[in-house]
Point group: C2
Chain length 458, copies 2
């Protein structure tokens, strides 16, 4: 134990939860890291909770004893959000995975926080509805809300901020509050729902969510478009956005990322800046818009490869979803710093070119892919963990990337969150507004027990 959990605290927890308070090394280690390049930090104990009431009871005890509490869903966070850097109790919420209610007519549902988006969509299949968030990761909706996750369909459906209508949240002292509700909109007071989304478990523990759902579209068609440069691809995206095409996904991959995908999947696509585009809606609309997109792409010199069959459609999106693993496959045995920034779409060419030049000059392998309709892109920077200098170079490049994003009106992270990795940029990004965030944190969690050391230090 690192001292965060006193004997008295542990006794109180064991008095309530018995042997369910687990302190074995394996389970602690398993809960001390997400899918990130940050050093692991195990909690002192782990509790698999089954209900909001249990979360409330656990928090009340931890609050009384000043024990740090970290929420854990599926452990897929990329910026060290689940690392128990000050020890304490990890609340594993993955067993709270019930779908509580689905309303087909209102196109919404209420779920427990631990359900994964995959399991929810499986559950919804018969209704013709789905949760329109398409991430690379296997993630719980509670974790997705807590990091304000988004993914490939944001260009059409928005982020978790747009899809969550209401929450059940347990506050640091164990009080349970309901925020928002089932109305599609509300002007009744402060947007507490929005405040907990993206707070990374530092203000409260989300235990239930009410979510907007979307109808599965009548048709979806897709295609791959190879451009001579990122500039041409981005210019094409800007035009497509302005035309109001029924875009469902519009993803950009650079030449190196395409090369990685080819190597990983045994394919032979052009290894140049590529757009993977998905249009969804009614049959006629999709046909019309796909043709229009084709014309726009041609105007920018692209070579078009429309997916002619449902199998080709699925195969193309499988390639896209292999991007992270394919990137890591470029240097087996290496680790990866997976970073993301988001900028106004028209700033993409400048910033991608500038960071690309620095990456090349530094001799680092770092393929790029992104949700270009939102101006959000990822670099997977590979480094040899045995080479401290290379790791330092990669860190420095990440700093350069974020600095450039901020200079160009963007944000340090579009969808991965702050966690440990982006904390250092919060002062530069927010200025005096960071002080306001801290005042809110102190008002909601005066003892500072919830996920301490994340987003900012007090």
């Amino acid at each position: 134990m690192n001292g965060a959990m006193s004997e008295a605290a542990l006794e109180a927890l064991v008095a309530r939860f018995g042997t369910r308070i687990e302190t074995g090394e394996a389970v602690r280690a398993q809960h001390g890291a997400g899918d990130s390049w940050h050093a692991a930090a195990a909690p002192d104990a782990v509790l698999f909770v089954d209900s909001t009431a249990e979360v409330s009871q656990a928090l009340a005890i931890c609050h009384e004893h000043g024990v740090p509490v970290v929420a854990f869903g599926h452990g897929s966070s990329l910026e060290g959000q689940v690392q128990a850097v000050r020890g304490g109790l990890c609340l594993d919420l993955s067993r709270m995975d019930k779908v509580l209610r689905v309303s087909q007519g209102d196109m919404d549902c209420s779920v427990e926080c631990g359900v994964t988006r995959q399991a929810l969509n499986e559950d919804l299949r018969a209704t013709g509805l789905f949760l329109p968030i398409d991430l690379g990761a296997h993630a719980t909706v509670g974790g997705m809300a807590s990091t304000r996750a988004s993914g490939t369909m944001t260009v059409r459906h928005g982020t978790m901020r747009d899809l969550v209508m209401g929450l059940t949240v347990v506050l640091p002292d164990g009080e349970v509050v309901q925020t928002g509700g089932r109305a599609r909109k509300s002007s009744a007071g402060y947007d507490l729902t929005g405040l907990f989304i993206g707070a990374e478990g530092t203000l409260g523990i989300i235990t239930e969510l009410t979510l907007k759902l979307a109808g599965i579209p009548e048709t979806a068609k897709a295609g791959m478009y190879a451009f001579a440069s990122v500039d041409e691809a981005t210019a094409c995206v800007v035009e497509a956005l302005q035309c109001g095409l029924c875009l469902n996904r519009i993803e950009l991959l650079d030449g190196l990322q395409m090369a990685a995908i080819n190597a990983w999947n045994g394919t032979a696509h052009a290894e140049t800046a590529t757009l993977m585009v998905d249009l969804a809606g009614g049959e006629v609309q999709v046909e019309t818009d796909l043709e229009m997109f084709g014309a726009l792409a041609e105007g920018h010199g692209a070579t078009a490869h429309p997916c002619e069959t449902p199998e080709a459609y699925s195969a193309m999106w499988a390639l896209r979803h292999s991007a992270l693993y394919a990137a890591r496959g470029l240097r087996p045995g290496c680790k990866s710093l997976s970073t993301d920034v988001c900028v106004p779409v028209t700033e993409l060419p400048t910033i991608i070119a500038a960071i690309g030049a620095e990456i090349e000059a530094a001799g680092i392998v770092a393929p790029m892919h992104g949700h270009v309709g939102d101006g959000n892109f990822h670099l997977v920077m590979l480094f040899d963990p045995e080479e401290p200098e290379e790791q330092e170079t990669v860190r420095a490049l990440n700093h350069r990337l974020v600095s450039m994003a901020l200079e160009h009106g963007g944000t340090a992270t579009g969808e991965h969150g702050v966690g440990l990795g982006k904390k250092v940029f919060m002062e530069a990004q927010h200025g005096p507004a960071l002080g306001l965030m801290k005042r809110i944190k102190q008002a909601v969690d005066p003892k500072g027990i919830l996920n301490p050391g994340k987003i900012f230090d007090l």
Copy 2:
């Protein structure tokens, strides 16, 4: 003066702003009421500000002296948001009306808070872009953000919560903070932008906004559909939403509202539950979807009146926008309590029938219209200001309406905000979460100078 502004405070304000601190009765009276049924309450003084720096200086002085501050845009708020119930200084922001920046490529702009949506859209005309918020009122974007306004196009474009990407806000002590930015999404810390939207000027004064814009659609077509009942109309809306039609607006008006519109405009439309529907997008898509909507409406026994010409289209939407004035015209000389609630769409028939029966039993004239795609509707309850009993009946009906909305999973207000009128319902709606709102208010505005007495009492 009602004592909120001390001599010393007034002297300090005059020392900085000279004769621009206006204390004449006329200007004070003009700033003491919006477009609401609530009693007017004039501020002690009014200052027309020209810049964020001036707002900051005025707040610093008021903060030092404990003077209440109320922000004033165009005075169109419906729930008493601008009433200076504890006196103090009114900051009139209407001169801060500059459009600061428009990016066609990124489909966004930055503006000062005092620009009206009408003036902004006029300014944007040449760009092919517009701010897709269509209210009945002539309102400033700062006021619209502060009440989380929405209107007829929410079903497609969302509310101000969805359209504001960033803010400049002056905090109670005069500190200026920037929230959000120009990135389409961000996971970098707490959603402060969302916190100020809908806060009705109780947490800070919004002085600048960065807004998402939408492309003016290639085509829009509309039609009016007369149904035998609200139930049939609502059932048709639910189906249209599930089909994912390219709905731009879908508005419901009851028989009495249609009668009021006929009388006001000299038209002769069926005086029964009516949907006014607007579809927008590409030519082919709009044609296809309009046909499909026609088939759905026919399935629910509706009589269709599509708008065959652009003139007919404009005329129909002019009728819709006359709804409030037409409603008030039913009893000339009377006042109106204009209330709004929002519920899950499938709950609409139940609640509309139930409140309709109570209204009828009480002998009150109260036409209904609403943004049915969101489950949001308005009742304009007319009362004779000389008849205290009638006024009491109308208040009681408003209470019944909100109680029913809350019982059916809805909210006390979908878009008008809380102000003075809906305060009494906040405990019932939010429960313990209301306490959290108060903690946030106290953390951000410990002296309680910003728009005191609104949303909740401390």
